[in-house]
Symmetry: D2
């Protein structure tokens, strides 16, 4: 297992291009946040779907790292997203991940995505990760 | 909105072939139970995937009825299931649904399925329902 | 690899409860058929969703067996179904599977389901199977 | 219905930020291409998942526009992606969409994503779009 600080440092070093901030990791879940700027918006002032997916993907990855340790080779194998409401254009997106299963070779989790300050999810994601055979 | 008793009576009348028992409806969710007999098992003593899917489908439907009233024409439009663990062969399956969104034309919910008495989900489902234009 | 006849005999022996008929296996795919009787119908004369899912699941399994040989331990890990049109109540359902990937540990395929004689799919399924480590 | 040229011009005007090129629209499908640069890569030299999803999303949208005309308000409601193989770091990604259903209020399609020049898909996507009530 890895702490919030360890996971945040790992993400910053290995994925310098991500704009996600790791807020919390542990207890079979994780919370991340992502600032929304002009580049993430689509016409109509909505956050683009791929940006939402990327935040969910990071939330899942971070939650898994919290459980299995800092394994760089875990890869997403599938992801299902349901878009629920139009996100606010001027709020960060917060992703709250809860792991459903962490098995030997496969991890499954779900992520609720919110516009910061709202309790109504803008999207819901279920994703699966393949875990490499030898864990560190 | 409809109460647990109203939904249970509606299901018994409209879907007499279902083996699901409606345990609770309300607060944006529902709980159903389904006895497992020989006919629901696959080789190896596991509950068949389609049986799990059908329980999740009923849990979702029942939860939606609880929110929008007794609308017989709501239909499933999509369903994603992740199989997580082998269910017990001799326990009922319990489906716990939480609605994620109930919109004008589409409802989305998730269902955790458990072997009765266990806290480890055997499967997780996300499903969407199309709601007919005129609600009762 | 296994032939249509070998796969059909295997399914008949290992899954005697299935009502699916294996029509063809090979070339990275499979076609199965399933007669529809009163027990498979829902109110309104439509084929129930779980029956459609079970046919897709068999089509996928059969296609995978055709590729990797008669491995009884392959299990479905996830399945996403989109319901497209109301199936005919008095026609068999035909499932046409095309494998998308057959890897060492995971196979992915899609299935189109039709009412026999129609070219408009009633449902579309994407499913993943976990393949046991040692293939026969 | 709209031609390849009309759809390409519409996308260029309404979504100037997309890097996708519309190659072909029609016959219930579409093909798009997306150049891969340093910004789309993840550690290990692989194309990031969200980039793949965004290409599939555009392919679906473009195919739907080809069928229903230039409707700016169609929105993605769900998307399921299976990641199959590591994409080449130095090839464009080509997305080939085939529509499965175009109904009054919902369209469903699938997209195979390839590294240019390869016949082995790197990812497979099924997506649904909500179509606004009044079509142009």
């Amino acid at each position: 297992m890895a702490s919030t600080e360890e996971v945040a440092a790992f993400i910053a070093a290995e994925f310098p291009q991500t704009k996600c901030t790791v807020l919390e990791v542990g207890n079979g879940g994780a919370t991340v946040s992502h600032q929304i700027g002009h580049g993430e918006l689509r016409p109509g002032g909505t956050v683009s779907g791929p940006v939402l997916m990327s935040i969910a993907d990071v939330a899942l990855y971070v939650a898994i790292l919290g459980e299995i340790g800092l394994v760089p080779m875990a890869v997403t194998t599938s992801l299902t997203i349901n878009f629920l409401r139009k996100p606010a254009a001027d709020r960060s997106i917060v992703g709250v991940c809860k792991l459903i299963k962490v098995g030997k070779s496969l991890a499954v989790g779900e992520v609720y995505l919110y516009s910061q300050g709202s309790n109504d999810a803008v999207a819901h994601v279920v994703g699966t990760y393949s875990i490499p055979p030898r864990r560190q």
